[in-house]
Symmetry: C2
Subunit: 128 residues, 2 copies
Amino acid sequence: MAYGIRPSLPRVEVMLYLLEHRTHPNVDTIYKDLLPKIPSLSKTTVYNTVQRLSEKGAILRLTIDEKNVCFDGISEPHPHFLCKKCGKIYDLNFVPKANIQLDFSEHLIDEVSLYYRGICKECLEKMK
Amino acid sequence: MAYGIRPSLPRVEVMLYLLEHRTHPNVDTIYKDLLPKIPSLSKTTVYNTVQRLSEKGAILRLTIDEKNVCFDGISEPHPHFLCKKCGKIYDLNFVPKANIQLDFSEHLIDEVSLYYRGICKECLEKMK
DNA sequence: TTCATATTTGTAATCAATACATTATTTTGT
DNA sequence: ACAAAATAATGTATTGATTACAAATATGAA
Ligand SMILES: [Mn+2]
Ligand SMILES: [Mn+2]
Ligand SMILES: [Zn+2]
Ligand SMILES: [Zn+2]
């Protein structure tokens, strides 16, 4: 599987799930969706797996939703938008320029998250 | 208190606490620190208060720490840094330029968060 | 095969956050 | 000032995401 992770069945399936479902799901959603395919799967394994995958840099861990952590199979940093109405998380496909300005704080930075919140296009149209 | 919030004792004290303690505390910390001064305070009141203050725009609600929500008495948006070693949250005092580029996604955006994570200056020095 | 290691599983525990009912305080109208 | 209504605070119970932990299973090297 690369990233120095042994490609067990749950790990491969979680990784594939995240690559195929670009919805930024949480652990519970991943678990429920994979259970039919892997009946022996336990939720703890999903927790273990996303933990491992994210610490190795294979997936992104999002804290945009304060209810629970969400995950993204695309590990290149990119901005996200959370709709406060429907709860969906969208990708925003531009590269934030802010990342570059970090020289003068002397912390060692290894992660950047850019989060936007508001009402999504779809919800706006329903409200008209 | 302005922001259309009736200035009850707990509300004033929570607001003052956040203005005086620039540590981005969570509810439990606010509660424990104010309890000696307001012995009747309940944690539910602190939850209610930060909820009210943040929805009125008087304080910032941070989701940088996946364990719990943290709060900031400075309500102007500014970037934050979380140290993965010691857990401290620092202000980064530059204005991110990324915010401006949001035209072409047609969502209605009312909140922007820019979060950095890594190892803070202090922890780096201890490790030497 | 055998042993050591890594992984998975299931259950129990933790703990932040919320729900809700009760009490207290403040405001409004008289 | 008084009564009624509205708002706020409190305490307890509950929810629900996440973690801890121990037992079972699978993997890989020797
Ligand atoms: Mn994404
Ligand atoms: Mn701050
Ligand atoms: Zn929406
Ligand atoms: Zn630190």
